[in-house]
Symmetry: C2
Subunit: 331 residues, 2 copies
């Protein structure tokens, strides 16, 4: 069995309280006893039990990290940054993979069972109601990469997807394309709808420019490939704004397979600027999403909520910008 408070207390010749206090910041203990306790503890190899202490303090330092897409390469960066950021602050990520179960009920219940201090919902495809279910249950929650609404019910950190849609349309037009298309992510995702709205806004406001749009079943290479094949058989547009980078690469691949040259016969612009978009044999022109800032900010919000769980919900939006690489022809 593991070493407990009692063992250390016995060895140091003090009470259990004294031991507990030497290990809690700011408690009243004399240097003499603190020293005795430290010595006994290290001799025995004592490790305080965080779970036991959470019982009285009400804090576990466990943060639920839930996501619904473990196959999109963008999540490599997301997980890396989240885990590091949380670790730096002494918080522990408890991972939840939503791949099948899109209903919040089950994960909510599980995360409550483990008394997580807060939950981060990292997804651009889950409906706002998902994160809200956590809030309704009294669990502090941040929705990273979520939709910005005018009256958010939960903290949201992300980008302005409507503006991204505009940005993409403008960029395609600036590069001389006229027959545009939006090859979106899942139709029901709010991010998809917002991007489409922005895209349409610019297209409709620009004379001589037309558009079509369609949606991929999910954010994956295969879905992008398949949907681009569809588009090609229906008569391809000149340039595509794809829902994200992994979709773009699938689409790119389908275009090449069909013998279309990129960027001359067909232009593509993605969204995310994930690491491999910059790989020289991919060289995808894309809209950069400031992942690092979004995650840093999300973690800031989480820690802020730890101190004030009822903190008034806010939306934090970060600007995006186009990164020119090789999939749009030169202006």
């Amino acid at each position: 069995m593991a070493i407990t408070l009692k063992d250390v207390a016995l060895r140091a010749g003090v009470s259990r309280s004294a031991v507990s206090r030497t290990f809690t910041e700011g408690a009243s203990v004399s240097d003499a006893t603190r020293k005795k306790v430290r010595k006994a503890a290290s001799e025995l190899g004592y490790r305080p039990n965080a779970l036991a202490s959470s019982l009285t303090t009400g804090r576990t330092k466990l943060i639920g990290l839930v996501s619904d897409n473990f196959r999109n390469p963008i999540f490599l960066e997301v997980f890396d940054l989240f885990t590091r950021g949380l670790q730096e602050r002494g918080l522990r990520p408890l991972l939840v993979n939503l791949s099948e179960q899109k209903d919040p009920g089950q994960s909510l219940q599980m995360l409550q069972t483990y008394s997580v201090d807060a939950v981060i919902v990292a997804s651009s495809t889950l409906p706002p109601s998902f994160a809200e279910a956590f809030r309704d249950a009294g669990v502090p929650v941040v929705n990273s990469f979520g939709r910005h609404t005018t009256s958010p019910n939960v903290h949201v950190v992300g980008i302005d997807n409507v503006e991204c849609g505009r940005m993409a349309a403008r960029s395609l037009i600036d590069h001389g394309y006229r027959k545009l298309a939006f090859l979106g992510g899942p139709k029901e995702a709010t991010s998809t709808q917002d991007r489409l709205a922005g895209f349409l806004e610019i297209v409709r406001a620009t004379s001589g420019v037309s558009q079509t749009h369609s949606f991929a079943a999910q954010y994956s290479f295969e879905a992008g490939f398949a949907e681009m094949q569809n588009c090609i058989t229906n008569g391809p547009a000149e340039a595509y704004f794809c829902g994200d980078d992994v979709l773009s690469i699938g689409a790119l691949s389908a275009a090449q397979a069909a013998g279309l040259t990129v960027p001359d016969q067909l232009g593509i612009i993605g969204l995310n600027d994930m690491e491999m978009a910059g790989w020289t044999n991919i060289a995808l022109t894309t809209i950069h999403q400031p992942i690092r800032q979004i995650i840093t900010s999300s973690i800031e919000l989480v820690t802020a909520m730890l101190n004030d769980p009822t903190r008034y919900p806010e939306a934090r939006l970060f600007p995006c910008h186009v990164v020119e690489r090789g999939t749009l022809r030169p202006i």
Copy 2:
């Protein structure tokens, strides 16, 4: 405050024990009380506190999942499969990102503090001593993707890296290349050393075949790109066995950038068969590592150790095979 046992007991008009027992499998409770308790519990929205119960049962169902490379795309699949597999068995992954801290001490201490039931070390680059530190501390551990030694001190699930080295060399030779090279991962990683050993074994046993070898600083696109540039300036070999797929893609990219045509002027074979190796605009010939089986098996071992923590350590190896795509010229 959350609903506790006591609240439910009060409402149902029974003792706390009765409530506790209705929520534990196989405990002795009559149907009548069970029903009363269930009713009261659901009316109040009671959620048992897993952490509190862990105090007496000694089980948290928390599994530490530690890894040192969150940037290699292969880990997308790894995390997806691990989290799903663990969830299916009612276990919870507590993620540890080792990106900076390669010393087991700190993560060990943290995971002990959270009383994890077991730890999975998912890495082909950490030394065996890393996983052993957990075992020495009495924490059940499985080293996934670790090195198979003749007398393992901890459970290891992975592949035979020496055999992979042989397989790669044979494959390159079969495809008609004669001037071979190994562009390995980190030099100090046991997997790198083993793969090199197998590679050399075949090269030396085959007349008319020569080899050189060098190492990338880490498993990343950039490192592969940089090391291939080095190789090219030093006079490139005809074909390369790269330490893994992401390295291969970096190398591929550098070769193309230098104007070398693949697979004619330069052949490349990778290792892992990660998802994007199959993307049609990459089409990497590579050695398939059966990730799914390795992870399933690792989880099996973990659950077995939950019941028998002193289970005799074993090594489980899974066979690999070459997946022919476009980066070796036809035989």
